[in-house]
Subunit: 380 residues, 4 copies
């Protein structure tokens, strides 16, 4: 409906809940339904009512639609908000919610140029990882964001996180599930929440950001992931729920491992020490792991260190390979867990094919050939 | 035995094993027994043989003793190496090994001015935490260190880590269990291994370093922890082994929690989301936690974020308090786990007294009154 | 005029100009007069018109007054904007402008609880340093801020910088001239602009921030500078303009030094190498410096390194002491230059008294006894 | 002379002086002639005497030759030390010394696989920049290094800096003049000394390191600069000494500028504010600059900020273009100054050709098309 000289770009904002939309109730923060759009509409930095009226925007795009002020290159970012009912605290997120978000993106895929998902920070890294696998042949940006402080407070990080996510989702063709926080755009399956209180809540320890949005928005195009397929976008909504995360600690008993690995468990991320190490003088413990992998449980070896990769160079690492574990490379535990959910739901694949998928890079979630490239150009 | 003008300071080096003393065998690294002292003896930066001969040092202090070149203020750091047999990979460390190290420090406490513990990096943060609790009324420095690259390689971080640890243990009265790595001295129960491969392998996310050792050794004396007791040093060698670490993840089942919490488990660190959050719409899961705490299991609520503190400001955090969990403040999971081992072994204390100890700051492992101090001086 | 239950706090915003209030004209940014207050008035996050009407605020405080939404502890931050005419690009700032700002603060000192100075980023560190010296016996916060991107653009850092500066100036009694940028509050005479384009444009290399304003505003009260005087606040508006900044470089000629040091120059900051070093094999150059100091010119030795302090431990450093230079410790060149302006204008002081002031810590601009405290608690 | 199974690689170490080889004399550090090789020879980590004897190494390569222990891939790094007499404090370095170093590299170019230049840290960034321009069609690594603490002290950074530089110079074909410090390899004309006392003394604010040398040596091959010429290596030993560095400051007088720009000055780096700004309300000052450029002096506009680039987007930046200044992009002042020395000595070029060279990227010292690449892939 815009004037001929203005280009409109459309973004769908899926508001699942989280701190960004919470208000203070009885000394605690709680989500506030139906308030978000109302609140943004009153802020000229988030909405240009005059443009909306002149272009009959609501008639075309519906009531829950807002429009940003014109960008410097004469574009209008028109965004519609789809609010979940009830709004969800991210601690409560489950695979069902991942499916719902994925389905909503699928449903609206053709109509919008980009997607922003508002989400609590606590499990945002898990959801971003899950969506990255569920979205197959993605061709448009899907950007999760949220905030540490509600957008209703005087000082908050929600305003800038939302504005930045909207602009990148609208203006750049980054065909990835991303997470945007505190002026940085990360690959979604590479992040982890590292700080409970700071505005800089997320880190992407094994991959540098895809973009920095400060005075300029600078995209690192050579880091952006591009699938080599031209297949049609689809969302895989089958997810296996029988997966888990087990962190190794000194003195862990075989009984604890056995209890954790009992049916119906089908896939486990084992957070090991350092470069993928476990005790090699604990036949009882290794026996439990071996029994589990023999029984068809896939166990991925990820490090409990924030940064780094799982490699087999130590004597202690070998025993886990012998116990049937798969090296998780530099995947985060969050990525490995949701990848298991995704891969184990592929019913047409046998165990070997699933294992192979788990050790391959599917969505840029792991670095391939780290060691290889490092040495190839040295003098010989 | 030194000349009257030179002051000798003595350090005991407890070599438990780890990468610092490993050599390459069949494409993997393995510990090399009885080689460490021999190797250091050949390096003038680690040993002044002439001084040793002139002062009949070996007669006084034994064969496994070395002496550094004279320091700028005319001191001689004489260090004796106690090597464990077998040398241990840190992945294999258990509470038994913590007890052995503690006992060896106790046994040699009067004879030495400071202690250096060589240890693999993988579980060094766990051991440092455990020793910090086991050492009661400590009055001398106990410094853990190690390296990412064996001291036998051309380029390595072991040389500098060992030299720095030796000098600080000898020259400064820091009555704490510390960890020294890449020119920084950290409080031992505050660290976590954050990088599998970098020389800067450890972080102390919630407490700044106790010292920086670059061109100068700069101690931050106002950060150094000082117990207010004058009691005699002792090592508590009773440790409870029935403790564990459970990380929350989306979709965790009540069955998994129940299995993990079953007897003989007596204490658990639950790694929750963000500021201590868990799902509040999962009565089945919360029920399992409640049943466990009702049965006398102590569950400590620590965040799975690298940095930050567990606080009850979110609605979701409340449910864990109702389920009987104790807020872990800004303790690392490593510190909380070993503190449980230590506190649960205090047989003369009842459950309430143990819980109280768990929520108190015993060795500088948690910040007290974070929120309080922050606001006290604002305008009113 | 507020209701009895609400506490009003008043802040004066001195808008001198700078990027924060610029708009795009003919492909370049230019200041936009009389637009700032109008623009803020339309943004509910910056102004609560309803409160203004109900309390007859404009009648009491004048037209250019705005009021923030109520804070969590029921305070109202009422701020009046004093806009300079013309608005200044900070590149054009001179000592005259510093005097004008200082005078405006003095004039309004009793009426307001805190002061915010909007200023271009380019010379903000110079102005902040100058004001810190000019303001004698300051008892209220004076906070400079600005932005890298105009507040009129969709994404910008001006909003948050202004809101943060307003809240700290209103709510905390920090009796210092400060600079607030990207969620950090710095001491004004410790900062330097380190990045032309990033939102994180300033650094305070030799002093950690006074406050962090993220989810919470955390003041580091033990770093806040407190003069030990109870004298009345006053602004010293006498400044000596015959001061300059000369950076040493390899091959600098004696002629260049002589030319720079010629009358009417009265004070010079010499940016030397490393810890205060200059060539000691250049009698011609050293002669020029000696002649200048003999003639009564005060030359301060500051390092051209971003971080660190000037000390006399190298042979090369000695020659500058012999040439009559004064060690600048860890002062920034910006602080040293404006301190010279301030001290050289003290007409009642003789040369020795001025030199003494230059080498003393007046406003927290330099660390005293760095070396001393470092060693005092080591073993002896 | 090596055994057939061992590959020897040869490195020339040009020891010009600096802290790395200093000892304490009368409370100050001073260079110690003829001591460096003697000292290294006693350290098994720096020299394998047995190998030297067996291979008659001294007969082949001379007395001042040492050999490192065998590397993991069975190579022997044989290095000969060329010590300057007298040893130089880097504060005393001039263009004559740059020429001497360049000449020595040229003289030994064919015989060695790589070059390490030991140098004081104070002016190392200037020398590294100068050598990068002087070395034309360089095909082998030239790596400057040094240390903050003499290699003769117990704890020091000289050992690791020298070992790392030796190994990279020997093992990797990086055809650049580099600077190696604290486990990072930087492009030489991109660095600046940022810390007077820390081991991490250098930064390369506008270009990430070429290599990280921690547990592994990781070369970032896509960052390494490769000239597109196959011409023969040569060293340009003609340097113009009539160049200087002038930092802008508030209140700088036209007289100061005029004095600085007077003959025989031929090239000046003007350190401006922010993105290349200067006062635009100072016709007297701008007039002096204009007069100078009209007279054929080349003035390069570099920012005094540590990081960032000079761009003409502000109204204030335009006036410097009108005054005839050349934008220096993101060059460091050190690089710009030595580039002027190099370019102004090209006698066969006229003024326009020299100006053109100054604004072009010659050795990776400036980023080209920063703005261009940033936007090219955005949606249109």
């Amino acid at each position: 409906p815009a004037s001929p000289n203005v280009l409109e770009v459309r973004v769908l904002v899926v508001n699942t809940g989280g701190t960004i939309g919470m208000t203070l109730h009885d000394n605690g923060l709680a989500p506030q339904p139906d308030a978000f759009v109302q609140s943004l509409r009153k802020l000229p930095i988030f909405h240009d009512e005059q443009y909306a009226q002149q272009t009959f925007m609501y008639d075309y795009y519906g009531e829950n639609t807002l429009v940003l002020p014109m960008t410097k290159d004469y574009k209008r970012i028109v965004y519609s908000v789809l609010e979940y009912n009830p709004l969800l605290d991210s601690s409560n997120m489950t695979t069902d919610d991942w499916v719902k978000i994925g389905t909503d993106i699928k449903k609206n895929y053709e109509e919008f140029d980009g997607f922003v998902v508002l989400h609590g920070t606590d499990t945002m890294a898990y959801t971003a990882s899950a969506l990255s696998f569920m979205c197959e042949h993605l061709g448009k940006p899907v950007i999760l964001t949220g905030s540490q402080v509600p957008i209703y407070e005087i000082r908050n990080d929600g305003r800038d996180n939302l504005l930045g996510a909207l602009m990148i989702a609208a203006l750049y063709v980054i065909p990835e599930v991303c997470l945007y926080f505190y002026n940085k755009l990360y690959r979604g399956n590479r992040v982890t929440k590292v700080d409970t209180g700071s505005f800089s809540a997320f880190a992407s320890p094994n991959l540098s950001p895809l973009a920095i949005a400060e005075a300029e928005i600078t995209i690192k195009w050579d880091t952006v992931w591009r699938g080599n397929s031209t297949a049609k976008f689809q969302v895989s909504t089958e997810l296996n729920r029988n997966v888990g995360l087990l962190r190794l600690f000194p003195g862990i008993t075989a009984a604890t491992a056995r209890a954790f690995l009992q049916p119906p468990m089908e896939g486990v991320v084992l957070e090991t020490y350092g470069s993928g190490n476990a005790p090699d003088n604990r036949p009882d413990l290794l026996e439990e792991l071996k029994k589990a992998t023999d029984a068809g449980i896939i166990i991925i070896n990820c490090t409990q260190c924030l940064k780094g990769t799982v490699s087999p160079s130590y004597a202690t690492g070998q025993v886990l390979i012998e116990a049937g574990l798969i090296a998780g490379g530099d995947m985060t535990p969050e990525a490995a867990l949701s990848k298991l959910s995704y891969v184990l739901a592929k019913r047409d694949l046998d165990l070997d094919a699933r294992k192979k998928l788990m050790s391959q890079n599917l969505r840029g979630e792991m670095s391939s050939d780290l060691a290889g490239t490092r040495l190839c150009l040295s003098k010989s």
